[in-house]
Each structure stands twice: as C-alpha cells, then as structure tokens.
Amino acid sequence: MDTEMNQKKDKRATVTQLLRAWSAGDAGALDSLTPLVYTEMRRMARRYMNQERSGHTLQATALVHEAFLRLADAQRIEWQDRAHFLAIAAQTMRRILVDFARSRNFQKRGAGVRPAPLEEALLVSSRKDQELTQLDDALQALAQIDPRKAKVVELRFFGGLEGKEIAEVLGVSTETVSRDWKLAKAWLMREMGGGAKPAPGQ
C-alpha cells in the first residue's frame, strides 16, 4: 500500500516537473510527458471498461480531467502548467478516440480485427465513427493552413477546455480564441460537407 502510494507520489512529482520544464521552454519534456499521459489515460479507460456500465460512451472530458487529477498534484501545480497538461490530454484523447473509430471502420469493412477492450469502452455508432474520422481528417487539413485554429478545436472538442483555458494554453487572448473558433468551425463544417446532419429528432 505504501509502495503504491509512493509510486503515485513519484509519478505526480515527475509529471509536475515535466510540465514545468515544458512550459519553461524545454520541448524535450513534452516527449517524456506524452507517453506518461497516454498510458495513464488508457489504463483508466481500461479499468473503466473492466468495471461496468453499458451502452454509454466514455466521457472524454471527464477522462481528461481525471487524468490530470491523478497524474498531477492538482493543488500545487501552476495554472499554466495545468493548462499545458490539459492540452496534452486533449491531444491524447483525440488519438484514442480517432484510432478507435478508424479501427472500427476498418473492421466493419471486413478486416475482422477485433478492437481491444479499451476501445469498446469508447464505443460509438458507426455513423459517429465516420463523423469522428471526418473531423479528424478535416482538422489535419486545417492544421496545414492554420495550426493554431486546429489546436483551438482540438482543445475545445477533445479536451473539453473552455475559452479561458485555451487562451492560457496557446498564449493568446480569449477574444482571439473565440474568433479562431468561429472561423475554424465554419471552415470544418464546410470541409466535412456542410456539417454532418444527424438523424432528425436529435
């Protein structure tokens, strides 16, 4: 028990340190940080899956925020470091969700690859799988012409971050974030074909 507690403390200290280093300009810190976050979020999702619940999709935002609470020392961490962490988590969430959506689409086309249990936790309908991969494609395209706007979308959609947090992560004003979002949204919807309309009644 003590060992487990200590390990958890160690991990938190490491993450907190890496976050500080990263926001202080050490780009290499990000490389160490990302796998830590990814592993933790997958672990959480898997444990979630192993426990219970049916028919519900995993709440990405909750997962992102929980990852933060678990990995970082929430009480001591600087606000800015926290924002950076959320940015990584959002990115990670995007990877997890999109990888899964693609694997399911692939599977549906007959490849017969069964998704790992983790991905089942993120289970969505096939139409949603398609929408999600479309969004990811469009986001990649947007990143080619305007990386910051793509980031705004990633943070907002996959990370569930609010304008203020996004502004903090990107080092811009909230006004800019809101303008970016507006244009990015229009652009993405057009890119995805006028916005994938859901079935009537939704």
């Binding site: 219970e52 619940r53 519900h56 709440q59 909750a62 926290r82 309908s125 303008r179 994938a196």
Partner: protein, 715 residues
Amino acid sequence: MSAERWRMVEKLYHEALEVPASGRRAFLERAAGGDQELRREVEALLAVEDDTTGILNSDAAGWLARGQDWRPEPGTMLGPYRLDSLLGFGGMALVYRALDTRLDRQVAVKIVGLPSESDEVAQQRLLREARTASALHHPNICTIFDVGESDGRVFIAMELVNGRPLKELIPPDGLAAEVVVDYAIQIAEALDHAHRRTVIHRDLKSANVMVTEEGTIKVFDFGIARKLNSDAGAGRQTLTQAGLITGTPAYMAPELLRGEPPTRQTDLWAAGVLLYEALTGQLPFTGPTTVALAAAILNDTAAPMAAKAPPRLAAIIRRCLEKDPSRRYAYAAEIKDDLKALAPRPALLGRRVWITAGAGSAAAVGFGAWFGRERLFSPTRLSSGGFPSLDAEANELAEQAWAKLSTHTDLKGAFKLLARALLLDAGFAEARALLAFAYFVEIESGESNNPGLLRLAASESRNSIGVDSRCARAWSTLAAVLLYQGRKDQALVTARRAIEISPKLADGFYWLGSCYTMDGDYEQALSAFRTALRASSTFFIARIKAADTLFRQGKRAESFREIEGPWFQPEHPSIRKLRIPDYASGNLRDLAVARRFFLRAAGWKTEKVLSTNNYQIRLAEALTSAAEGSASVNLDQDLLQYASLISDGPLLVAEIYATAGDVDRALDWLERAVRAGDEEADWFRRNPQLASLQSHPRFRQIVESIESSKMHRGR
C-alpha cells in the same frame, strides 16, 4: 491555400460578420477588390449554417453521449409493455410512459443504453444492478417493478410518478427552509432505507429527485446504484464513471475525485450539495471548468448560506459537506433525526411553539422565517400531523383550529371550528382527535376543573380511533387522558401505539415520558422527552419535563442547563400562563428563587394572581407562597378538585402542604398521588419539599407499599 491568402480570408470573414447580413455581399465585392475567388471563399464560410446539432456543437464527451440513434415509436411493445409517449431522454436513456398490458397498469419504462453487439456483458451487469435496486421498497423511492431485455435492449419498468424534478422547482433564491426540511427528511429516509440494504445511490442530485403534486419526494435512479460490498475488489471508482453517470461532478464528494470508491458518505455529501442548492438556489461548489470545480470541491469551503437559512439547518448541511468523510454523518438516519428535531411542521409549531420571530434566539429567527413563507404544495399531512380530509374546507377549518388550540389562544374558537369541520366531514378522524385534544387542553392548561371534559376527551379520542385506527393524535390524546385518570399502565401502552403509528408525533413521546416519570424510570423518561424534542426542538413543555427529570435524578446542574438555555424567555405569555408551576415546582426547587421568578414572569402582584381563574397559576402561587411562610395556604375546593384531575397535581398539593407544615394533609395527598399512579418512591425520599414528612410512619408505609408493589410486578 497560402498563409497570406488565408489571413485575408480570415480578416474579411470577421469584418463581414460585423456588417448586417443584407449588406455583406456589397461589402465583400468592395473589400475583395475584384478577387472573385477570395469573395466566394469568404461567402462560402459565412454561408455555413450554424446548425446546433452537429458534432462541433458540443465537446467530444457530449457528442459521444448523444446516442439516441434509436427511438421506438409509440405503440412499440417491449416485453409486456406497450410504449406510449416519450417522457424524457438523457444521454443514456429514454423514458416512456407505458402500459403494463398484463396488469393494465400505467408505468414508466426506461430504456437504458444503446443496442450494441459488444456490450452484452455490460448489459448483464446493468440488469444485475437494476435487480438490486428493485429490492428497494419505500414511499420515497421510485419503485422498480421489472427489469428485462427485449431485442437486446435492457429496460426498466418503474413506478410512474406524476411530478417535477426538484431541480426545476428551486427558485433562484432557494426554497423556503420549511420546504427544504420537509424534502430533506424524505430524502434522508430514502437513503436510509437503501443504505440499510447496502445499496448506495451514487448519483443523488436535484435532477434525480422528483416532487409529486402532493409534495412527496421520490428519489430516482437507484438503478445505477449498486451493492456496497459486492464489488469491493473490483477496482477503484473513477471520476470518469461518476462523471459519466452524473454528467456533472458538482455533486461529487472530494474522496470520489481522489479516486476512492463511493460509500454511504459520498451519498451524504451529495445530499448536502442538494440541500444547499435547494436552500440557496446555488450549488455550493462551482467552477468555470471541471478542473476548477474539482479543485473547489477539494479545497474550498462553500459560501455561507443566506441569512434566511436557519442556523441548525445550515449546520446539518455543513456537516454533510465535511471534506473528511469521517466527519460527516455516519448514517442517513442521523440526518433524518437532526432534521426532525428542527422540523418546522406546523404540527409542532402550534401549542408548543412559544417562540415567535424576533424573540432573539437563533431558533426563533429560523422559525419566524418559516412562518413567513408559503407552502408550495397542499400538504400530505395536516400541520397537526394527521391525514387530511378530502374536503378542502374541512382541512382549512382543522388547520385554523389547530393554530388556536396549539397556542391556547382561543379554545372556544377552536371548538367551533372543529365542530364545523366535523359537520362537513364526519369521518375526519384528525379533526375528531383535535376535538378530543381541545377538551383535554382545557384541563391541561388550567382553564377548567370540570372532570367531564376528560371523559369527553376520552370518548372523542375513541371515536376518532373508531373512524381511523391509525390516527396517531387520537391515540396520544387518549394516552394523556388515561394518565390523568390514573391509569398509567394503559396510558403507557396507548402512548406506544401512537408512536408506532407516527414516530414523528412529539406528543406521543411526551406522554410516554410522563408515564415513565411516574414510574420513577427516569432514564426512559428522559430518553422519551429527548425524542420529543428531536421531533420538535421548541416543544417547550418537553424541555421542562426533561429538566424536571434530570432534577429528580439529582442532576441539578444539568437540569438548570437544560432549562436556562438562551431560548428561555420567562416573559413569554405562554410560559406565564402555562408552565410557571412546572418551572417553580419541578425545576428550580429553590422556591424562594421560584417565587421571584414566578411573580416577575406573571408580572403580577400576589393579589392579582389570586384573582385569576387559571388553576395552574394558582397552584404555582400556592407552592411558592408556602415556601415564603405565608400564613394562608390558598387551596380551596375548586383548586383541589383541579389538582386531583391532573397527573402531577396530587404530588404538587402534597408538596404545598408539606412545605406549609401541614403533615397530615400532605400525607393524604401523597397517598392520593400514589393511587393516581405516581410511584416515584425514591424521589419521594429525596424530594426537599417532602422533607418534613420523612420521619412519619405513614410516609415510610407509603414508600414501602410502592416498592413492594413494584417488586411484585417485577419492576
């Protein structure tokens, strides 16, 4: 697209948005300066319809949760249930009004989750959980009738509740404290019931609590609760799960945020959040983002509740919101008890409430505030605690009568009102019980010494019980009459009956305690008076009795503490009128002090006291003047007749005579007290007012006869 061109697109896009839609084309023609492709690009972006249902209108969480791809049409059969209208839907369930075709019964059917080829295991788990919840049967829990599967879809058939979610009923500045307490007691009862069966709710929130038109609380979604212990080893609860369930972590306890498993205490935390929300209209912890919210829950103290919050209610809520689960209540039942102690049910606001708004005590402020608020619903119970009549006017008359009766303000008026109520509805058991009580109160309050009133009280109580054997007030009034008639053992059984029927009826405990006192069983008596006080913290007479009991146990200091609390207002008219004798004779025992108090409280000179017709006041005067060594002890026939009617009267008269030095008369009345059921042999020996009798052979005989009789009966 080049970066430079994209910047132009961006610039024009935002500029065009500033221009009224009608003028945009002209603006863009001009601004694009002939670059048709640029213009078209911007126009295309501007033309994108901002539809509100697309993927980008929520975050991934919300979007993924929006899962109703499938929505059955009305008329669809699901097992034996024919679906009717859609009542509501959330991220994870559809709820239909439906007909159970086997029983021809209206039910609500909740279809949980989305059909999927891959979540059979999870569905099995859900079924198991719902079955656990279906074992809960409680008036404040939405009953689950059936859990089943049809075409791979799990559904839950449950009680159809006509009501609205509490969340929608909370006005911006919160509900009246009276209403909050009423709801809170019901919620605590629901949780207590579930917790005793090791089921925790895990998702208690104002949206999961329905209020019926009658004001009954129904707690929903125990379907996602699970057995407390069954999966202790299944890993730790996560924010994700709970976040998924609640959709908002605003109700999550700090330990849940830290990844600890849900417990009873996490339910109690959620109850605290809910009550805070109901009382103030605000959530105790908020934040612009989930992380900020989580940080607030972990670190911050909730803002103080508004000034209108009664301090004791606020204290209960604060205890639920202790960060450390071990500092919260251990059981929902404890919350229930604490709430009941301040329950503002007008039943207990009547006769026993002598504190009015502005009296200066903390409790008074709270109760004053309660008085001023309207009730949201017609009550399921009358304010006297009983069941209402179907006739609204009869109910209204009974309420008015109770208000008079309980404050002793206008007994004759109360009689008239009750007579009219019974004329409208002869089968109105509660009104009949109140009528019985009115007869009794005429004696109890010292207004009359007519023994016929006790007989009337007894017969009306029995009539009321004949109409409705579950009319608790009829039983408690009957117990009181029996005790006054010297039939203590029957009184005890009858009082117990009243309590069994209505554990909320403070009067039932009061009379039970009074029986124990006369038995000399002070521990039991004290416990009963304390319970009465928990049911109604301003039940002044019960407090006097508790103090008196402590005094009889020899706990003088404790007795004084009980009686001399900050709430004590000797000038208050109802104390003046009613309980001065108790105070003087039963509690202070320092008769010189009692006399001063008595005259001050009465605000009268001795002559004026003597001219009053109130027998209680005259008994008090007699006792305190005897202590002063007054030459004349004013006990006329009328007063003695009165003393012989009330349960503690004979002993009081014995004390008066003994204090005045009239040993023979004192012993006569002491014997009379014993015949009337007073068997406090020990207290007779230690009673300072009876000191002059101690050496008398008759005194010893009296005491020994009590002891042998008790031994004979095995007490």
